[in-house]
């Protein structure tokens, strides 16, 4: 247990440093959200209508970008081999790393959402709806993305392949996240149903992700 706690602390500390993933992820989120009005046009009503989708797409792409770092840095300096050989089960170690990754890279996205919602002309209820769905959905993105990161860890330029592998698994999270946000903002469909499915997706990925990642790492590292 203490080993897992130490692993989480270590990962968060590394991620929060300048070269780590946390700040870069938020910056990329900001970039994507800022680019959208340039592409779509400055019509505020249209931006408010597209707001939840833009925020969700930005969060999805940002988490894809930072997923690369989940195992790559540890693989390069050899600590991944040490983690794999340690007494704590590799599944729990993967879950701990994913949790640390979410705390360091996913939470800042959610914290940045109200500010970016202002850029997109979203009012407070809309922004809080999007933030809540992001809170429920970004763990699913991180934990399913961990599977792709584990598969791609032994490839040298695995970044793009990682994105191709992870995207089909992230599409349901995106669909239900945006559906829940839209339902909360405009109605008439219920918010509860897509939100519950979003939570279910996160919970399932919390269980399946570490197992699949551990199997991939074990077979990829030998």
């Amino acid at each position: 247990m203490r080993a897992l706690g130490a692993l989480i602390q270590r990962d968060i500390r590394i991620a929060l440093r300048v070269g780590g993933g946390a700040l870069i992820g938020v910056l990329f989120f900001l970039t994507v959200v800022v680019l959208m009005p340039f592409a779509v046009g400055p019509d505020l009503k249209l931006l408010a209508r597209l707001g939840p989708a833009i925020l969700w797409l930005g969060a999805l792409l940002s988490s894809l970008l930072t997923l690369d770092r989940l195992f790559m840095a540890d693989h390069e300096d050899g600590s991944l081999d040490l983690i794999a050989m340690a007494r704590t089960p590799l599944e729990l170690a993967c879950a701990a790393k994913a949790l640390a990754h979410w705390l360091a890279s996913g939470l800042p996205l959610i914290i940045a959402t109200p500010v970016l919602g202002l850029l997109l002309n979203l009012d407070v209820p809309a922004t809080s709806a999007v933030a809540m769905t992001l809170l429920a959905g970004t763990p699913a993105l991180t934990f399913t993305g961990m599977i792709g990161a584990a598969l791609a860890v032994t490839l040298h330029r695995g970044g793009l392949l990682l994105a191709v592998l992870v995207l089909p698994l992230s599409i349901p999270v995106l669909i239900f996240g945006v559906a829940a946000s839209e339902a909360a903002i405009t109605g008439p469909h219920s918010f509860g149903a897509p939100f519950a499915i979003l939570c279910a997706l996160s919970l399932v990925s919390l269980v399946v992700g570490p197992f699949a990642a551990a199997v991939s790492l074990r077979h990829g590292l030998d």
């Binding site: 089909p168 699949a212 990829g220």
Partner: protein
Amino acid sequence: MTLTDLANPTKFLALTARVLPWLVGATILLFLIGLYQSATAPDDYQQGATVKIMFIHVPNAWLSMLVWAVMSAAALGTLVWRHPLADVAAKAAAPIGAAFTFLALLTGSLWGRPMWGTYWEWDARLTSVLILFLMYLGLMALWRAVEDPSRAARAAAVLTLVGAINLPIIKFSVDWWNTLHQPASVFRMGGPTLDRAFLIPLLVMALAFTLLFVTLHLAAMRNEILRRRVRSLQMMQASQKAA
């Protein structure tokens, strides 16, 4: 001849060399019968002769899912039982499955234009089959990204099993979401609702396409085994030259 006997690549090559010509003949025969039955099937009262795209579209769609199921079984063979030819089977099946999925999407799109008025619609089944196609492509990319085939096999096996969750989603998508693509007419509780005049040609064509898959799959597995032998020989030759 049990599965463990077939684990020997040489025996597998010998067996498939004998069996493949018969399979090719059976496939051609079934296609001739199926195409004749499809051509002579009656016109639909609503869709006219366009309904005959169904005899190509539906078997391709069924096979796109069957191939992923076969690959999942092969993935289990790789990860759990370490069957030597399981990863050969998985690698050989991926491009064939991708082709079937693409054909299902293409024929469905051509059928949708006269029937629904649009080539594409983001409804539940079309979207989930498109995701299946993307997963096939990702899987093929993963196979070719790792140099050593047996290491690539294990990574691909994990991805195949994780992606297998898409199969029940595709199957039940027309029940869960009431959108454009029509609900299940054949594989449903209470039996098929399709009239016999259409059901028989459909099943014959499905059988023909399945035999086509088996033939292509076995041929592709033979090629993959030979490809690996060439690779081993090249590596032996390179190490001998170095020594």
